[in-house]
């Protein structure tokens, strides 16, 4: 266990240095949610999104989940490059714990996405977001869990596809319907009954609803707890699923 932790730390450090070196990584990943914040957010400011509170209190949580979803789902592209260059094999031929290359990278992604989320919230505040500090901070826990889940699954997928286009096709196909169905940009409170019902099969729906309640300061009405249960459950499933996929890739050529 200690070995796993220290080996994960080694890979985390390596990955973090890579991220910090590439000056574009932090800003580029944020570009899409930033554009939504600046160019779509103001359109909603006079609308009633039926979530209680201001439109910013509904919109910014949606953008945070979108950032985790997009940022997390595509981290596999990075490991694909390394896998094809033989970096993963080089690591696997050392005594390094077999799970460390996966967990170290995923940990880096969580840190990166939470930092980006914090920047997004600060910019949201400049546009007019007002929310309780405790709720905002708790919201980052959800962002972290969700980012971890998606990063682990993304790496697991990337280690088991043949080509980069194959990975991109699968990731894109998964992400877009999930994003729309979860009600990230506009909440499902506006949806007709059938769409609202359909969106309840998407786990991110519960995450975003919970974060919206946190931004309203409504901590105890069950939505937050349900969101936490679904998000944490997803992370646990992704943890074991990601590990299994990563291990599986070591048994095939």
């Amino acid at each position: 266990m200690n070995r796993l932790l220290s080996d994960t730390g080694v890979i985390f450090g390596r990955s973090m240095r890579q991220t910090l070196r590439s000056k574009t990584a932090l800003t580029f990943g944020m570009l899409q949610p930033l554009l939504f914040l600046a160019l779509m957010g103001p359109l909603l400011s006079k609308l009633d999104l039926r979530t209680g509170g201001t439109s910013w209190q509904a919109f910014v949580p949606g953008l945070l989940v979108q950032l985790s979803l997009l940022g997390g789902m595509f981290v596999g592209l990075g490991i694909l490059v390394e896998r094809q260059a033989g970096v993963i094999d080089r690591m696997r031929a050392t005594p390094l714990h077999p799970a460390a290359p996966l967990l170290g990278r995923a940990l880096r992604d969580v840190v990166q996405l939470v930092v980006q989320s914090a920047l997004l919230v600060l910019l949201g505040a400049a546009f007019g977001l007002r929310a309780p500090v405790a709720g905002v901070l708790l919201g980052f826990v959800f962002v972290g869990l969700l980012s971890a889940a998606l990063a682990l699954l993304s790496y697991g997928l990337a280690m088991n596809v043949r080509t980069t286009p194959e990975f991109a096709a699968i990731a894109n196909t998964v992400v877009l319907p999930m994003m729309l169905l979860a009600g990230l940009l506009l909440p499902m409170t506006l949806a007709p009954g059938w769409l609202d019902a359909a969106s309840r099969v998407v786990p991110f729906r519960y995450t975003v609803d919970a974060v919206r309640h946190l931004y309203l300061g409504e901590y105890t009405d069950g939505t937050v707890l349900a969101g936490l249960a679904v998000t944490a459950g997803l992370t646990v499933v992704a943890f074991f699923g990601g590990l299994a996929l990563f291990r599986r890739s070591g048994r095939t050529p």
Partner: protein, 258 residues
Amino acid sequence: MPGMTPPVLDVHGLSRTFQLRSGPVHAVRGIDLAAERGEILGVLGPNGAGKTTTVRMLATLLPPSGGRAVVAGHDLLADPAGVRARIGYVAQSGGLDPNCAVGEELVTQGRMHRLSRAESRARAAELAADLNLGDLLDRPTAALSGGQRRRLEIALGLVNRPEVLFLDEPTTGLDPGSRADLWDLVRRVRHDHGTTVLLTTHYLDEADALADRLVIVDAGSVVAEGAPAELKARHDAATLQDAFLAITGRATDAPAAV
């Protein structure tokens, strides 16, 4: 004292079958290999002979379908972690991250072998000096020449002072000068540290010049074995090229001349 110590590499009946949609592919069909401490063993064969699959199995990266092996005193199947701690593995693709700096890759490799930070740095400095990488430490690996890349990749393989160093097609794609440098480097590693080197190649001149002993593989099986001079004498051949032709009935895919 040859023959007195158990071989550092002892492989019996190692095989690997890949299950493809089109049916099973027998990439390696029961290979026997042995190498003693400080020996340079060349595995020579055309592309597709099963050389890379064999090395990947011996480096714990691919589970064998059959057979057994002892690598650096540790059983490949029962104790892969023990094997990993005592080998260096340099893949044909090299395994460098283009974004990482040379010095950083060296230090991280030490950390992956569970050296402390200080030990990793010291070992990286030592290897950089020894392999003439000292001026390149801050450079991203993407900016290295082919020969420099190979030197770094071998340095990474030597971080843990391995008993066995696996080099998979180490000179493919190098210019003649860099190839000669690399041959010198491999000889020096063996001379200075008594490292056993298993290298695969499809270059006959490389096998002839570098290996103490050769194993010729074709279609997943060993078809001949011996010192280059023995192989030539056995087949009454002036060159290894002629011996290879006599053994396999064909030339290697690559031109032997450089």
